[in-house]
Symmetry: D2
Subunit: 224 residues, 4 copies
């Protein structure tokens, strides 16, 4: 565990399950299933970090500890998207063109391994990267008395990073999980977790480290 | 000019001066002056991109074209900062410890080359990275009828990137200027402009390219 | 027309159709149809101001002038709403109890006279009063280049007033239409349009006055 | 105590001091001192409710119980305010014209009875009515772990009401204090506390009732 994170635990303490939320970001077939439209882009990283196993492990631990799970889904594509927008991004236009996460499609459905349970909360769809922007995520977190969020899902340097950056500005404690997210390249993973992550996230660690600490394992001591 | 940016001009047109704003982010002595507290961290990049010359060139062009300039300043440090906050970031605690941009100090003053003019607008200080978070930046842009923002200043991968990410989510057209910002390492510059920038920014170009187009030079044609 | 509004036209000019949006707030059967669950509460005012006729007249004029129409719908009730919220309001709990605007129900459907057309934009559902809070309304207005909003629908002193108050803080020009909204009592109408409206709205007028000016009739001169 | 408020206590419990904040809104000489520029407008209500005595009583009780006090100040007027804004409100233009709460003036200073103490937090100035809009109020409340806010100061139907409406949408528990705020007319007080307040506030009571409950007096039982 890096010193940034260890010192964070010394300062902020560890997660209290009842004040912590898991944000499951964009767990769509198009991202996570080998037959999904965007899988090929991140295939190397997804498989390299064992993404699905780690996401499942984090979610299972969360459910066992009654940590609230929030689905944070991207806008489902429709053919008329952005037709009259002034400034859609290149990514939005590309997603529309390819109808990634198309509304009502298999690709725009949640992956079988990540089906919502009755007690989960589904946040409104976000239009671009941040799960907080133009949605009810902040309200739902507040109404559930949650002040720490753990971000998992896709993609590390876009939706997760923007959600983390926004969440920090809103006052939340932010946790990134190195191998429970993926990106299109290893360089983007490095940027998300090693270059930018430490500037806004309070803890950056592996799924194993996260699960161990949630389960009560002591935090290692920081280097002197 | 990269194809991302050229195609952007084809889609969105070029900047109209009266609907464009320059965001001058954190132009403090502590960042920009060789005697400033944080200069040494970014010295190699600042000098490598000729940051001050390029910032001046962009600002001068903006003033000549009556493009509105907005100062977007970071919180000025005070000794009691964050004393009772739950989740200040490591960066905030470090900035407090070293009293970077200290209130009332030379380091927390704007660099001599970037003194506000009477017609400039000073946005409220931001607490962390995004110039939009917890400030009146969005309101001021709206009240001035501005829908495109050009981001210059410090640092490329933190304040500029977060301000760009937030601005995009709010519906603004975002321009990044490769050599009118700096970061602590070249790798961070690469992450800001080549890895992440294209996912949220509508134009990413050099100061020279920006100034040329603002002055009416035709945009190059995109590759077929 | 009151002097507040007339002087407003002198200051701000009249609406440009391409920069104006109509916000049609909560046009549900439960509010607007005599068989709706909440109709009886506002029946006297609805019928007294000829609400449906005036709403139709405003919408028809808007469509004829290509003014963009936005549906701004309240959350559709579900049986488990607010089960784990800390601080739902009395109104939210009452709405849940009575399942007003129930998801999938006739009461939670738009009134026959106010069916969305293909070019209309449906904003995400709001949880309480303000159409801006926790939704994409601000983003959609910006992406459509709109800086003035005309508010019609239900209720004058709750959803319309909060949407107007929020919109003003975000920098929009706000228009209230006295007889194209209703409330539970005449006293609440008076509070919305005569006591509070002038503190945040830029124009407060009747449907007839609104339609006339949209159609090009000159604005009356202000009293000297 | 009205039934709305009593049932609220049954639902939400009473205030925990460490999770509660007092918002002291616009306690300027221009509002609160007989020589202030706007005192005459609200004089009848200010004196009728014994505003200053009640505000002091609430603040003193808060300090005794270590309830965090937040100053929520209106923008201090400057001569060039709004010169290039598209849509300033009538109130903003009037305030500028009369230079109410002028920057650096006695009228724009806090009243002698409401001087900030070292442990108080001063929120950024708001431009119009809501203390949340374009400021760091939400962030500061979150960082101090506060989820309930008690609003006192000026004016009941503008700044307090908008701050309460915004706070509710953000997930906070809202308390209004009938005689620790004032307005220009009694009719406006009635609108703020009896017509609109119950639609967004969780508790609406007198200073005496508030202080008693904060000091541990049992809440009365609701009517059957």
């Amino acid at each position: 565990m890096d010193n940034h994170t260890i010192r964070g635990f010394e300062r902020y303490g560890v997660w209290q399950p009842e004040r912590t939320g898991i944000l499951l970001i964009d767990p769509y077939n198009d991202f996570l299933h080998p037959d999904g439209k965007s899988y090929f882009k991140s295939k190397e990283v997804i498989e390299g970090v064992h993404l699905l196993d780690n996401m499942k492990r984090v979610i299972n631990t969360a459910r066992a500890l009654s940590i609230q799970v929030f689905y944070v889904p991207h806008h489902r594509a429709e053919p008329t998207d952005y037709d009259h927008w002034k400034y859609p991004t290149t990514t939005q236009l590309g997603t529309k063109e390819r109808q990634v996460f198309a509304k009502g499609s298999w690709g725009g459905s949640f992956h079988d391994d990540f089906q919502p349970q009755p007690e989960d909360i589904i946040i409104k769809e976000h239009w671009s990267q941040s799960g907080f922007a133009n949605t009810d995520l902040d309200l739902q977190l507040k109404q559930h008395n949650i002040d720490r969020i753990i971000l998992i899902g896709m993609l590390a340097n876009t939706c997760l990073e923007s959600t983390g950056r926004f969440g920090m500005e809103l006052g939340y404690h932010i946790t990134l999980v190195r191998d429970a997210s993926a990106a299109n390249t290893w360089e983007m993973m490095h940027a998300a977790h090693d270059l930018n992550g430490p500037t806004f996230a309070h803890a950056i660690l592996t799924s194993e480290e996260l699960v161990d600490i949630l389960n009560g394992k002591p935090v290692p001591a920081s280097e002197k």
